[in-house]
Assembly symmetry: C2
Amino acid sequence: MSTLSTYPRPAVAVDLAILTVTGAGGADPELRILVQHRSDPDGIALPGAFLRERTTVAQTADMVLESKVRIAPDVTAGPRLLRLFDDPARDDRTWAVSAAHSLPLHEADLAGARGELVPVTADGQLEGVDKLLFDHAAIVAAAIADVRERYEIRQRYAGVGPDPDHFLPEPFTLHQLRRVHEAVLSEELHKDNFARRMKPHVEPVYDDDGEVLLSTALRGRPAALYRRAQ
Amino acid sequence: MSTLSTYPRPAVAVDLAILTVTGAGGADPELRILVQHRSDPDGIALPGAFLRERTTVAQTADMVLESKVRIAPDVTAGPRLLRLFDDPARDDRTWAVSAAHSLPLHEADLAGARGELVPVTADGQLEGVDKLLFDHAAIVAAAIADVRERYEIRQRYAGVGPDPDHFLPEPFTLHQLRRVHEAVLSEELHKDNFARRMKPHVEPVYDDDGEVLLSTALRGRPAALYRRAQ
DNA sequence: GGAATAGTGTCTTTCAGACACTATCTG
DNA sequence: CAGATAGTGTCTGAAAGACACTATTCC
């Protein structure tokens, strides 16, 4: 402890698995992850950066978004730590530890982002991406498992309520909400059971006359609009 | 990236919330956490150390156990990452990031350990400990929440089977197993429901004659002995 | 037999899964 | 009205919670 500063220190990378649901509210929402092409080691990778002098993980994540992804999102929830990668040989260039995070963002915040939003397959792979650099494939797998766990709608023992990462803008119909959960889980849900489970966690949106706002349906009966409770 | 080595790097600490259940198998098992007295900044703290040149978290944890706790445990499961503490001002001495881990160990492995095993209260505090150094109180709270979640026995949606951290040596009776879970959760469980949930995850232990081994009861009917299934 | 502990049968409640029906819109 | 989508009533089965009973040991 007394010789604290004399020992070599690792570079600490913050790698981000940026998740979004594209087309939320529309016909075919899809869970996607942002990957970028790198040339330093040549290949596909997640965006990331090293912690600079006296900065935090959150600040570093902001810096990555700004300078590498070129977006300025309205971050609702901060990056979620998934795991540490600490194999001393994982990066040829230097001793580097990676703190792997997931970062769920609105699709709207990703407009103009550098990189590509790649759809996630049912078994947790990235569609059409063979290989990611470093241990980024493991980060992607962990991020998908993490978000799917949180979108489980077994209210009693799991689940954190409707669309915890706010992929879907308010107000929304129960149908739209279900489509988003289905996109994340890659699993079909029964509309009746889904509605019963979600009802306690959403509230209807009213207009000036105290009437429940309805969606303007293209066909069929218009659906009631809701927002997250409280 | 090209100037990788020119930037200052943080010291990376591995702090360990070492958990055990004392008296597992006995009358009054208790969930406890190891704390140590420090004089550098004076106070009570969790054991920990900084990552040294090209070592891993696991190696650093082993080093902490050897040189600071003075034990050589038979580690069943590695340290579990709880969270990162990255406030640049959290340590006066230098820029240090802490990777907070929990490490569940057998009570037997902690014989002769430096420090004190402090009981955990029902609300997740340490009994009789006012204040911990740095952010170690938050680490303790996270470690307790983590182990309690894993000892929940709602098999369908949570739970990782009987006594996932192996606090209780085999073979054991269902009564002993339940007492250990109760000690971790700080909550009483019904013996009948507990037995039904655990039965699929344990198997009886047989003697040479193919008879089910029984505990030698002090009073009452002897209980069957089990071990974890498979 | 009595005390003590082990182990099981079963009733009730809750809730997910599934099916079918009714309701309300457009053209 | 037909077609389409929204929303609900209700049956079933699985499992947790709770209670009570039976079983086996030592004294």
